[in-house]
């Protein structure tokens, strides 16, 4: 099986090289022979998927067969590892994850190449660019980080086991989601670069790539939030985001990708920001590759990073080459990217997009800067410094608040120009709602003048309310018009409104999701925690909760030994639930892992960690966190995913609602739409 896998990935590399060079040659020969050659390159591109899939299948089979003759399987699996984690071993280590990356890229390439009839020439360009990226990753898999490398010496009886932190159900889906996001940005990048190289007329390439970009963005969003949820559920420190370099690596392309999703609308609608959009998508792809480099090169230290290796140099070469190709294509074809229109007013939808893009890019720069500053400091000062949460929070929170403000204001601005009166009329209700909520929250006891974090928290809540009211007022305003003309109920009319323009209203749903997430984040300003040694009957109070230790015990399972406490929880004296915080010791890897117990409500999370035992008396040490509003983050995330899915639903066919306006087509044409 390992030989077959090894051959499959080598064959996939040969196919990729062929798809790259034959495809590129075919693009240079616009005759029948060139077309035939291009078709062979396309078919080779399709075949890459099957070859890489065979390689991946061989690796997974080796994991299930406990084939410890493979070094990768020895290091990332063991006999007693549950089946889902044996499958997840495919992406749990450096070599396997690179093979998995190649597999996902090949899958994206397969879909793209099968849909080549949409626009054969543009798809041929995109196919060649994807083949080039594929060659790089398959070179790594074959020569720098081979997952089919054999063990040296005597074969071990059992494997070293999977990292305990990865033995959690979410880790079976978090990495694939994240990788689908990372890898997926190759597709819009390939289309953008291809469109630039061939001086593609018009903006059709953007229409073609719109769904690709949104799907990719949706996957990356899911990957990031699943990662945050995993960190919250497993790492046992009571938080979900630590500004770790690996977390930052996933956030950076998300920020530029989000900026691209906004600014590309200006290109579609007004033919503006063509250069900016091109570079945004280039930057997003480069940041995806950079993030992969960051986690694998040992450049920065991170608890999430893969083992250090020499493949960092490969990535530096890849980044430099890609950047050079982008610059060359841009310099050669920049005249093709002339803007067709100009901004007309500072108070307009276009300028709100510009400022929104600026803030996204500044946020991305800040994250990049903070992530790399320790390296820069070492070069300049000769010693490393730590750039941790205090830096990122202090610098990014004001930027995030400005972004939230724009999220509230932007949808109220018209394209081209908005009058001050119109802005005042539309904005007064959201602003009043925010002020009312601020008064209410202060009335309930929040003291924004006491601490900076409370002030930021109040601002976040108020701006989130503004976003929410803006979104709902947009739905209600449009819904009323349809309800008035069709006689439908307001709810049904709002549904129809959303179906008529799924992208716009799906976007609003995403904005609403962002507002919910921000409210959840605002809750972190009021986190509480306590730690106590608890014997039989021991009590601990936190907030309105009282935890009583009923018992503590141990267990021995094939894969791990565990010890846990049984805690009865009451709230304001009333029995609520029983929690079982646990600590595990994984036998194969000889590593500890915590399994926090969680009682999550819309109001707050009671998060209990079994930290260990006092060695003198054997009593468990329990740490309790009371984290307000955390569930809002997960609800917001699901809302964002729902909004993204709505954006991808095709618009309903337009049905005339009333008497058609005279000369409508003429006016529409005059308006340039």
């Amino acid at each position: 099986m390992p030989q077959l896998g090894s051959f499959a990935v080598l064959f996939a590399l040969a196919l990729s090289v062929y798809a790259l060079f034959a495809g590129a040659l075919a693009l240079l020969r616009p005759d029948a022979a060139g077309e035939r050659l291009g078709e062979t390159a396309r078919r080779a591109g399709v075949a890459i998927f099957f070859a890489v899939a065979l390689g991946a299948l061989c690796l997974v089979t080796a994991a299930f067969q406990n084939d410890f003759s493979l070094a990768y399987i020895y290091h990332h699996s063991n006999r007693d590892l549950p089946a889902p984690y044996k499958f997840a071993a495919l992406w749990s280590g450096q070599e396997g994850s690179l093979l998995f990356w190649s597999l996902l890229l090949a899958a994206y390439g397969l879909v793209l190449r099968l849909r080549h009839n949409v626009d054969r020439r543009l798809f041929a360009y995109a196919s060649v660019i994807i083949a080039a990226v594929q060659v790089f990753f398959l070179l790594l898999v074959n020569f720098a980080a081979n997952p089919f490398a054999m063990m040296q010496g005597t074969l071990p009886a059992d494997g070293a086991g999977l990292n305990p932190l990865l033995q959690y159900p979410e880790m079976v889906i978090h990495p694939p989601m994240l990788y689908l996001g990372y890898v997926g940005f190759t597709v819009p990048f390939a289309f953008a670069l291809g469109a630039l190289m061939m001086r593609y007329p018009g903006e059709k390439w953007i229409h073609i790539t719109r769904r690709w970009t949104m799907v990719t963005w949706g996957f990356l969003t899911c990957g990031i939030f699943l990662g945050a949820h995993w960190a919250y559920s497993v790492l046992g420190w009571g938080g979900y985001w630590a500004w770790d370099p690996v977390e930052n690596a996933s956030l950076m392309p998300w920020l530029t990708g989000t900026a691209f999703l906004h600014s590309v609308m200006m290109q579609e609608k007004r033919g503006m920001l063509k250069i900016w959009n091109m570079w945004l998508i280039f930057a997003t792809f480069l940041l995806c590759v950079f993030g992969t480099f960051l986690t694998r090169s040992g450049l920065v230290s991170s608890v999430h990073a893969f083992a250090q290796s020499s493949i960092g140099n490969w990535f530096v070469a890849m980044l430099a080459l890609t950047f050079a190709v982008c610059v060359a294509a841009f310099v050669k074809n920049r005249s093709h990217l002339q803007s067709e229109n100009r901004l007309e007013s500072l108070i307009s939808r276009e300028s709100s997009f510009l400022f929104n893009n600026l803030l996204f890019v500044v946020a991305c720069f800040t994250v990049l800067w903070g992530t790399l500053f320790p390296v820069l400091s070492e070069w300049v000062q000769g010693h490393k410094v730590t750039v941790g949460p205090p830096f990122f929070n202090r610098v990014n929170i004001p930027v995030a608040l400005l972004l939230l403000l724009l999220t509230a204001v932007g949808p109220l601005l018209a394209w081209r120009k908005t009058s001050f009166e119109s802005l005042k009329r539309n904005f007064s209700i959201p602003a009043l709602a925010a002020i009312a909520v601020a008064i209410l929250v202060i009335g309930f006891g929040m003291r924004p003048w006491a601490e900076q974090s409370a002030f930021y928290s109040l601002m976040t809540i108020c701006l989130s309310v503004m976003v929410t009211v803006t979104v709902f007022s947009e739905f209600v305003r449009g819904g009323r018009v349809i309800a008035g003309k069709t006689g439908k109920s307001l709810l049904a009319a709002m549904g129809r409104l959303a179906h008529n323009n799924t992208r716009r209203y799906g976007g609003y749903v995403v904005h609403f999701g962002v507002a919910l997430v921000m409210i959840g984040l605002a809750g972190s300003a009021f986190n509480q925690d306590k730690e106590k040694e608890m014997g039989y009957g021991g009590k601990m109070d936190i907030g309105a909760y009282t935890l009583t230790c009923r018992s503590y015990t141990q267990d021995d399972k094939p894969n791990y030994r565990s010890e846990w406490a049984i805690l009865d929880v009451t709230k304001n004296g009333k029995p609520l639930t029983t929690l079982y915080p646990e600590r595990r010791f994984y036998k194969a890897s000889q590593q500890m892992s915590t399994m926090p117990a969680l009682r999550s409500t819309i109001q707050e999370d009671l998060y209990v960690v079994y930290e260990g035992v006092n060695e003198d008396n054997g009593r468990p040490i329990i740490r309790v966190h009371l984290n307000p509003l955390v569930m809002w983050i997960w609800i917001g995330w699901l809302t964002m995913v729902g909004g993204t899915a709505l954006c991808m639903v095709p618009n309903a066919a337009r049905v005339p609602l009333g008497a058609p306006a005279p000369a409508r087509a003429t006016v529409a044409a005059e308006a340039g739409d």
Binding site: W369, Q381, V385, P390, Q452, V667
Partner: protein, 161 residues
């Protein structure tokens, strides 16, 4: 009308800035708050990459001891700078969770704001310059028929993304 609107905007901006400044520089001074504040400005040095007060490794060779040292320093009456300096002396510069605002480390803090201010300036300039060009083009094209405005608005609404 235009001047009074500008005045209202300016006043609102001034009040907003004042509020931000007041809240930004407010701080609590009791010992618990100091312990909490200082503990969140330092990292555990065991390699877990966690903030000192968030390191949850029972039996960690560093964090428990570091917390005790922090409590002792606060009880001793040392001010925040002195406490942090003592920790830097003992554990190195990486014990601080964020760069200081001295020497080259100041660049870490100023650069993001500099980029933000520069970007805001550039975007505002671009918007204004483009706005002036668009007005000039519109004036050169002559007046538009006001009767067409409702239809233009309708077309815009119906084609909005």
């Amino acid at each position: 009308m235009g001047n009074s609107r500008k005045l209202v905007f300016r006043r609102a901006a001034q009040i907003g800035l004042l509020c931000v400044a007041i809240f930004a520089f407010l701080g609590a001074g009791d010992e618990n708050a100091r312990f909490n504040g200082l503990g969140h400005r330092m990292m555990c040095v065991c390699g877990c990459n966690q903030i000192l007060l968030e390191c949850n490794h029972v039996g960690c060779n560093y964090s428990d001891h570091m917390r005790e040292e922090l409590i002792a320093a606060i009880n001793h009456g040392d001010n925040d700078d002195l406490v942090l300096q003592a920790f830097i002396q003992k554990y190195g510069t990486t014990v601080l969770a964020a760069p200081t605002s001295k020497g080259f480390n100041r660049v870490a803090w100023t650069m993001p704001y500099a980029v933000l201010v520069l970007g805001l300036g550039v975007v505002t300039m671009i918007v204004r310059a483009w706005g002036r060009k668009a007005v000039a083009l519109r004036e050169a094209a002559g007046p538009t028929d006001p009767a067409m405005e409702p239809f233009r608005d309708q077309a815009q609404r119906e084609t909005e993304l």
